[in-house]
Structure formats: C-alpha cells, structure tokens
Symmetry: C2
Amino acid sequence: MIFILSLMCLKAKNRISIVEDSYRRRSVTRLIAVFGAKNSGKTTVVEYLIGRLVRDGFNVAALKHIHHEFTIDTEGKDTWKMARRGASIVASISPNEVAILHKRIDDWRINFNKLLQFLEKEDIDVAVAEGFHNILGKTPTVLKIITIKTDEEAHHFINTTSPPILALVKRAETQLKINPGSISIFNLPPGDELYQLVLKSIRKQTPGSGMV
Amino acid sequence: MIFILSLMCLKAKNRISIVEDSYRRRSVTRLIAVFGAKNSGKTTVVEYLIGRLVRDGFNVAALKHIHHEFTIDTEGKDTWKMARRGASIVASISPNEVAILHKRIDDWRINFNKLLQFLEKEDIDVAVAEGFHNILGKTPTVLKIITIKTDEEAHHFINTTSPPILALVKRAETQLKINPGSISIFNLPPGDELYQLVLKSIRKQTPGSGMV
C-alpha cells in the first residue's frame, strides 16, 4: 500500500527513480550554494546543476541573491502599479506561473529562513543558491561551490567560507598557485564529474535543518 | 502586557490606529474582488483601493489574474534561465523585494487556496483581487465590485456574480438602463464614497475563511 502511494506521489511529481525514498522521507531541503566574484561563472554552474538535478527527478528550487535594489517586475505593468500603492504582497497568477512578490522586507536572515521553511513545505528536495555568501558562507549544513577567475579570488573565498566546500570551479586557462587541500578543482564548463560529486554529497549529507 | 505587545506589533508593521484590534484578532484575510471586461477600469479601482487601505493602516495584498501564459520574469535574466532548467520554484532576494515564482502549477483552485492560506500566515488584512471571476464570482465571503463600460456588461456581470456585490463602477458618460437594485453606482475615477462603502463592508463582514 505504501509502495503504491509512493509510486503515485512519484508519478504526480514527475520524479524518476534516482531519488531514493529514504532521502525523501527526511523532507529536508538540501542547500547547495555557489559563491564567486562577478563574471566567474556562478550562473553557469547553478544552471547546470539545476538541469541535472531536475533530470534526475529532484524537486529543485533556485535562489538568487541580488545585491542592489531590484524588482523582478517591470515598471508600468499592473503588478508594479499595485506595489507602488503600498501593497505588502503582490501576487500574479497565470496558467503557467504563480508569482508572489514580497515588498515589505524586514531582515535578511529572517526572510531567508522563512524562505527555507516555505521550500520544505513545498517539498523541495534541493535548493541551489547563487550568492548569499554573508548568510550561507559559514553554515555547516550548506554544500558550497566556489567559482573563481584568479588565485586571489580563490584565496579570498576559501579563507572566508567554512566547510563543506566541495569544489573550486575555474576557467581552463587559470593556473592556480594555492593548494586547496581536499577541495576538488574543475574547469568550466561544468560537467558530469562535478555533478557526481554534488550528488554523492547530497546523499551522504546528514539530515538536519538548513536553517542559518 | 497584551496592550504593549499590540503596540509593538503595530509599530513593527507601521500600521496606524484605524485598523481595530478586534478586527486583527480574527486574523482572517478579507477578500475584495474587482471584476469587469477589458479596459473597464479594473486596475484603476484596484490601485485606488490599495492606496487608501494602506494609508489607513491595513496590511494589503494585491492579486492579479492573468489569463494568458505569462511570466513576470524577463527573458534572458538569470532567474529566467534557472526556471528554464526546470526549477519548480525560483526565488530572488534583493534588499527591497523577495520574489517567489512557482513554476509547477497544479490546479487553479488549489493554488488559489494555497495563496490565501499563505496571505493569512503573512498577516495580510485585506487582499484586493483583480479578476478571478471564475473562482471568486460565486463566493459569498468575497466582497465584489464590478467595473463596466456598457449596459450589456453590467447585465452580464450582475447575472453571473453572487452577492455581496458592493458597487458598479462606470464612466460618467455611460447611461445605465438596468436597475441594479441595492448595488451602488459610482463613476470613474473612484473616490471617497466608494472607499467608505468598502471600509464599512470590510468591518461588518462576518469572520470566516475566504476559502473558495
């Protein structure tokens, strides 16, 4: 009976068998964060990991940190006008998207933790975050990947990031002088070796809240 | 002690005193829906009501129904790229906005009810919805306003909408032949009389879930 229910759930969510039931039962959203300076390849790595994880049946969320004042909305549109009038939340529902914009921001860390709780409720298996170094850089439950253009950047991010750091990702032509110890080094574009390392790490990651 | 806590809450949320504590304690999100044909003034009425409610200290959400396939995101942006790779949820966090895009849409009604539950958890006092006639048109807990350009439109929407219908809003030059009974009639642009009617109706609305 449980087996049939599991199958139904899998079918309902279009998941395939690589995602183990034992993993699901923990119902904790695993967090992978990709850190790096501007133009070092963060989005490329995030996009690649999302695509592979989705293909393997994981229910994936993407989290993007934007440093400057920004709205995903477009000036002049109805939703933008409603926000301008002071609505705390502006939601737009279309046949292919529910978009919820929160305009009343209290505190970075509180908002981020609320977001994580929300992802767990939505049965997200893995969240891939781009940025958020100040929030996630020291959190032991977060799997970290660092993208770098130079030796100096590698040095900086390794020194300001706590384990587990899975990988440094760089351009093929970048020669590294530093020794990153147990951290694996990969070249862009990201490929299967990096993904397998991420997959292994997700699977062996001890259950526990990703709260930061 | 409760009084001090209430004051702190009010302060934290920048609310002013017109919103009664008795109202808040019910913690139910009141729903106002504005229905009408294209270019009949829906957005104008929604914008106006949001602005007035916010000014009076209500914590307001705006809900917009978009009939065609649509993303609030912009093609080519990083968030758009992440969605394209199959992420179920794409969240972007900037200093002035948390945007959560749900890309895995199951069912209109389920999604809408999930959205309402979410608004109640977020302490939204009033949600002003533009559209959603097929979901909200028959719901007795929803306060309805109809914007019209012609007699025929008035006829159509009155016949397909269940009470309470608070008001018909029309252009000054539009002459109505139909008799809308107890439904008030206002001209565009929306003004204080319409708002006072909405305010009175919100206050006397019986507590109860707005679930549809």
